[in-house]
Amino acid sequence: MRGLKVYAITYLVFLYAPIILLPLFAFNDGTIIAFPLQGFTLDWFVELARTEALHDATVNSIFIAVTTAILATCFGLFAARAGNRHSFPGKGGILGFVMLPLVLPEIIVAVSLLVAMLQVGLSPSIWTVIAGHVLICTPFSIAILNGSFANMDKSLEEAAVDLGETPVSTFRLVTLPLVMPGIVASLLICFTISLDEFIIAFFLSGNEPTLPVYLWGQLRFPGRLPVIMALGTILVILSILLLVTAEYFRRRGLRRAGLEDTGGFL
């Protein structure tokens, strides 16, 4: 038992210690990433604020992530409802096909998307990146929303129709509020996945780099490393905030629906 405890602690240290290095060197007054630390500075954050190309990349990334989150969640919502409420010929095959990008190596998705887009005459841009990200985010959205629909009593939608609502107003008045926690969670997860996705963005972004692609380009210049550390610090803090928010909404949704907690992502 003691051995296992030591193993678990070592494991966690190896997993998370490198992340602690980010803020450490982001505030370190020296261009070389090595101990001992030189002294406290905010210079790197100031330089971060001055780099134009970085701003463009950030705007690109956020635009891509927001659009991807909305599109993938819409698709996920429809697919999850169809999968949970209806049976149609070839259902298993179709749903399996939609979920496939979850297990497909991203490099393969990226290369084949690039080839396909060049073949039909589309040049790489923000929109091709969005298409790629929607493809890989939709399965996550479906997986999250499947849980929401599975938790929801089928009779609720029937009851609303029985009480005079049309299928469309039933969706708005009953279905949507009840799966809303799932929708919020899906939006946040898809946003995060898209924001830090590298391979597809690298192949498909052309001359409009996303943040990870820009960062990768900057790694060639050792002098820029502390700036990247500063940026990394900001991203880590944002990611943690995002996940906590997602979990908060999920738990609140469960409480409001009076359901058992079946485990979330935190």
């Binding site: 009593d153 009779s155 029937e158 009851a159 609303a160 029985d162 009480l163 049309t166 009840l178 009076g258």
Partner: protein, 360 residues
Amino acid sequence: MRGPIITLEGVQKYYGEYHALRGIDAEIGQGEFFSLLGPSGCGKTTLLRAIAGFEDISGGRILLDGRDMDGVPPNRRPTNMVFQSYAIFPHLSVAENVGFGLRKSPMSGAEKKTAVGEALEMVGLGGYGGRAAHALSGGQRQRVALARALILKPKVLLLDEPLSALDKKMREQMQTELRRLQRQVGITFILVTHDQEEALIMSDRIAVMFEGGIAQLAPPQDLYRRPASRKVGEFIGMMNFLPARLIEAGNPSVEVEVPGLGRAILEPDQCPMGTGGEISIGLRPESMTLLFDGQNAERVAQGVVEERTYYGDMTYYDIRLDGAPNIVQVSMRNMPGRRVLDRGDRADLAWDARAMVLFC
């Protein structure tokens, strides 16, 4: 029964190859408490959902107040449903649940509020409007579901096993209350249940369903006293079945010989009697009486007590009749001073030919 509110004409339903409803014909009267009773898988819920509009039927017609319901979606039918799970909207308050169906009504806000209050009052939940729906108990959810359906004043209220999720005490209380509510509002209730006792207690008429068809449609007393087939007799209450031999087939009376009991003259309302064929008689446990010390009766049979089961108000005896192949069950009300028989005791029992039902 005032004129029919629902007419079912040869209603058929297929799920792929599976024949779920095999031609249902029935008329359900205005203001009637009508039950669909049967084991699970007999098609009773499918029929209810077809009336509500949640299932398309494969053949036949459903007329609601004289109007053919073919192609009419559930939200346009003058029916409302109480679901087995109650389907209370968990994200709304009790009052919002009850007022849900009024959203499109031309009533003013204040009128709606009054209507919701009255509906809650009617089901005994006055003052509960502000509560969160998910914080209610099972019985309270049931009442909210009732109020929510009745507030729209439907022509027919459909109830899908509404009491099956409640515990025994609560169920018995709700049975009486549902009956009272139905008389009060005068709306036709159609109840789906697998509990024969519940159907007997609550209904004006009961349709017993087996394998997608109606086996018998009758008021509770007729159903219990004169089951149309052995299967119905077995399903409703307890019934002893004894093989019988035809002695003389007259019209209207028939004489049969029942091994162990003796000869009886019956006036069957079924079985156009020919000769030959397997026949049997059915006799309820309470239609036979044990005789104690010196009591006498017109028709007496003898046997041995094989088993005795105590139920509090009743004692059931399993008795092997002399000269009969099977065991009959006899129930006796427990009264002060009444003797009980033990296993192995000889028993005299009196029976009444008027309570016999002939099956063929």
